[in-house]
Amino acid sequence: MLEFRPLPASGARRRTHPSTNPSPRLTSIAVPPRILTASAEPAAPLPDRFQTWFAARGWSPRAHQLALLEKAREGRSALLIAPTGAGKTLAGFLPTLVELSSPSPLVGEGRGGGWPRAALPADDKHKIISTGRAVQRSGGLHTLYISPLKALAVDIARNLERPIAEMGLPIKVETRTGDTPVSRRQRQRRYPPDILLTTPEQLALLLSSDDAPFLFSSLKRVVLDELHALVTSKRGDLLSLGLARLWRLAPEMRMIGLSATVAEPDSLARFLMPQPAGKAASAADIVMAGGAAAPIVEMLDTSERLPWAGHTARHALAEVYELIKANKTTLVFVNTRSQAEMLFQDLWRMNDDGLAIALHHGSLDVAQRRKVEDAMSAGKLRGVVCTSSLDLGVDWGDVDLVINIGAPKGCSRLMQRIGRANHRLDEASRAVLVPANRFEVLECRSAIDAIAENAQDTPPLRIGALDVLAQHVLGCACGEPFLSGELYDEVRTAAPYADLSRQDFDDVVDFVATGGYALKTYERFARIKQDKQGRWRVANPKVRQSYRLNVGTIVEEPMLKVRLVRSRSTGQGKAGGSTGAIARGGRVLGEIEEYFIEGLSPGDTFVFGGEVVRYEALAEDQVYVSRAHDADPKVPSYMGGKFPLSTYLAERVRRLLDDKRAWGALPEQVRDWLSLQKDVSRVPAVRELLVETFPRGNKHYLICYPFEGRLAHQTLGMLLTRRLERARARPLGFVANEYAVAIWGLGDASFMIRNGQLDLNALFDPDMLGDDLEAWLAESALMKRMFRNCALISGLIERRFTDEDKSRRQVLFSTDLVYDVLRKHQADHMLLRAARADAATGLLDLRRLGDMLARIHGHITHRELDHVSPLAVPVMLEIGRESVYGEAADELLAEAADELVKEAMS
């Protein structure tokens, strides 16, 4: 094994230390010089066989690839931060390939093709490749590779095949995903391959088996791919707990993390190392790949009139089309599925040249998505309209341009999207940003500047969620019995759980055992029990079975299948009624979120799967739609996509607004708009909160501009409305977008402020996050959704059932009811705490709201106006367009009732 020459064990090892730098900026640095030298000289630590193989392809190993090899030789864990196209995956596997290579002659020479982009025949695409099946190793599992996408795992297996075959390496590679047949899974546990490629969920499953100690004791290395994407969700929490277990089972194990550029590499590096209890944080070494060409990012300077509001960028459609036409392959990113649908429609309407343009988003049928992906890698497509469904993953074809429609939302995300264009490191990626309205111009400008400075705004490392911990604890009890104290120590080696209190841990164990209720009535129904030595184990095999079926942290929105049927409205006079005669069956177009359908009435039209369809009926989990011929569908209200404007980009937008000299870089239309705002009202300063009040129609409006993203604004709007109601300003409703909140009502806010009846500093006091928030959370539909997710992940209720339990579906209950009861009777229950923690960073964005309220405290400027200001127009135009998560149930119901009265009287 040790066939390569040892390097001088010299030099300042690049150690990292806990991040003390609050700035989200990061300047790219080159790989430590020692390593760069190593690659330039013939003393490269690559075995001859590898050198020959590289040379035969006319390649030379990259500096960061060799650097990782060196880290591995030193027995150190490492985090590689590199842009797309830097050969990250090869770098991650090179140490393993070298370690597993044994001196045998080269075979299989002369089979052309490159690596890692092996072009295999299309019919091999879905085959799971296992190399060297005949090889029997006594070493056991050597390397575990974990990626967020199972497609990626399969793709990597395919790409590893070639160098292993061509160098004749005696290495067995296998994948293990949800699709792997049971027989193969069992074999893998008995006769593990050298390299196993899998997902966080599969790792959790493997760890919950009795033979986990056998399987993993030989493990030398774990490679985590797309780590930046993994750590931002509860999947990252689950993975971190899995790693904590592995560190105990396989003390020799070292880590390699592969990541795109992030704001805080130090925190990612900590994720890769077991955290010592009560001591300073431990972190993996960081290797930065340098040398990526700076991307060329421009903003579309439209010759059309820039819209005031909206997110579709329809004004620039012709220009977008021309860009697609002028390039070989263009990826057109949009922020929401409905935008993708609409843009795709519009592009086809003007597609006189018959360009091959396709659509790709997460709720399209899988088969259809695969078709698009295959056409893409075969170079058959000129353009693909897509959502974040293409943010990650497999590398396709030669994309030479990325167009981002609408708000970039965050610069790191945008950078990763741009990286999809041109996967060759030394060539610049090209991208065009197309703002859909005037505010988005500011956002695009700020994002371009941020990219030029190589600033990053990825979120900080998560604090491990308690519901995920509960799932893990149950998983542990499914394997070897555990002692609470030992598991507590183990869990805290995972970076996200390093600060977990013993109380929280014990509450979680109590929850897993008997539900964690103050009322101890479920002892006899315990799912895990302690033996005489105090070791916890599952109470019965059914619990284990249920765990296996329900592992994972991805809670999907309840989805409904969309089927295309013939319209019945032509046959029968009346539309409506969900049980009318509708032809069942029909072609499946894809899946759609249940909540979206709930907002529709039969007869409403929307765009789905690239077609305008009419909602006909809902029966069980199937939505029946017919083809509609409306040119102007009732497109779903803008839900804004999953991600709000990042804090960092928001701050840049505020700075841009405040810096009048920087306005020169903005299009003339936008400059004029801002200048007018300056004249009639005020352009807010960086720290300041501008509040405008004015009358319009028979209502009074209050607009504020916090620039904290849609989620925080929605929460703010909800809380302000409550407070205004108490202040007798008689608010009627509100609307929020990424930049502003508009509230309207019957009370004259201008007058009230002037007369001291309404104190703005009191209105925006951070104490709104106290009682007002509590009262609102009691009914908030969003909060209930978060609770449901926690209940599912923690294993309180099951998502998937064994066949014999399928009938249980019939008697499912609503988690909303459970939420109401639990909240009233045990408000500090672990699950409610978990849901609250989610609310802080998730859909309610409470943490950000809190930061904002603190920032603007004492910095509120009020302008009393006669009419709407230029800055207020965009958010005013959202009124009636965007659905608001309001809680005024009675008003809505009364309105529905009134409609009927009107109908009856006419």
Partner: protein
């Protein structure tokens, strides 16, 4: 004067929805076969003339029933349901209480009642007649629960039974009606009474009792081709909305 007879205030203006409006409109008149009931915001039905209160589908001990099968729902549903029942009883002080079936979630649920819950139930029963109608979840109720056990009860033009048959004058439960209303892109779902004036299906009263959409075929079996109204339980009032307007 009967304070419950007032029609609910129609305006949605917050200025008019102060205390008075709320107390007046927390029930709504619901006529069945000529008898006049109040649809209580809690989901109970009160018959003034008879001082009779009906609640349906309490599903007591549903939490522990799930727990026995490994789903450890919070064990507070019985106390939650009984305290809501206590509140509605205190509000109307009925002479008779009818529990319209499925009062207990399973056949042995009554054995799992805590001592405190059983005491609470006994004190609710004292000073009034209590009738347990048996339902499909609790077909064989024991005698020691207090009150009388019956399959159905007829009073004047009204017949109370668990499963609706669609008969005239019938008040039943079993189906757990709920209705969804959409307006301005928002949508809301609530428990409701379903009635066409000649018969009614009551909402489930139990804390963990889910619902079935009134657009489900089961309701067509009860009401046939006739139009019926959903009386939705809002936050502070009961709203009557034609079933065809709901989804």
């Amino acid at each position: 004067m009967n304070p419950w007879g007032a029609t609910p205030a129609k305006s949605s203006s917050p200025a008019l929805t102060e205390q008075a409006a709320i107390s007046i409109t927390s029930t709504r008149t619901l006529d069945v076969a000529g008898a006049s009931f109040h649809a209580d915001l809690s989901g109970a039905l009160f018959w003034d003339e008879q001082r009779l209160l009906v609640v349906s589908d309490l599903h007591l001990e549903k939490g522990s029933s799930f727990a026995a099968r490994g789903v450890l729902l919070p064990p507070y549903d019985t106390v939650a349901t009984l305290s809501r029942l206590a509140a509605v009883i205190a509000r109307h002080d009925p002479r008779i209480v009818i529990a319209l079936g499925d009062s207990f979630h399973d056949r042995s649920a009554h054995e799992r009642l805590s001592i405190e819950d059983r005491d609470a139930m006994t004190s609710l029963q004292s000073g009034r007649d209590w009738i347990w109608i048996s339902g499909n979840h609790d077909p064989a109720l024991p005698r020691d629960l207090g009150g009388t056990v019956a399959d159905e009860v007829a009073i004047g033009p009204i017949i109370f039974r668990h499963e609706p048959t669609g008969a005239c004058g019938e008040i039943a439960g079993h189906l757990h009606p709920k209705a969804r209303v959409t307006a301005r892109g928002r949508s809301m779902e609530r428990r409701c009474f379903a009635s066409d004036g000649m018969r009614a299906v009551m909402p489930a009263f139990g804390a963990y009792a889910g619902g079935l959409s009134i657009r489900d075929a089961a309701f067509a079996k009860v009401f046939g081709e006739r139009h019926f109204t959903a009386h939705l339980l809002g936050d502070n009032r009961v709203h009557a909305i034609a079933a065809s307007r709901c989804c």
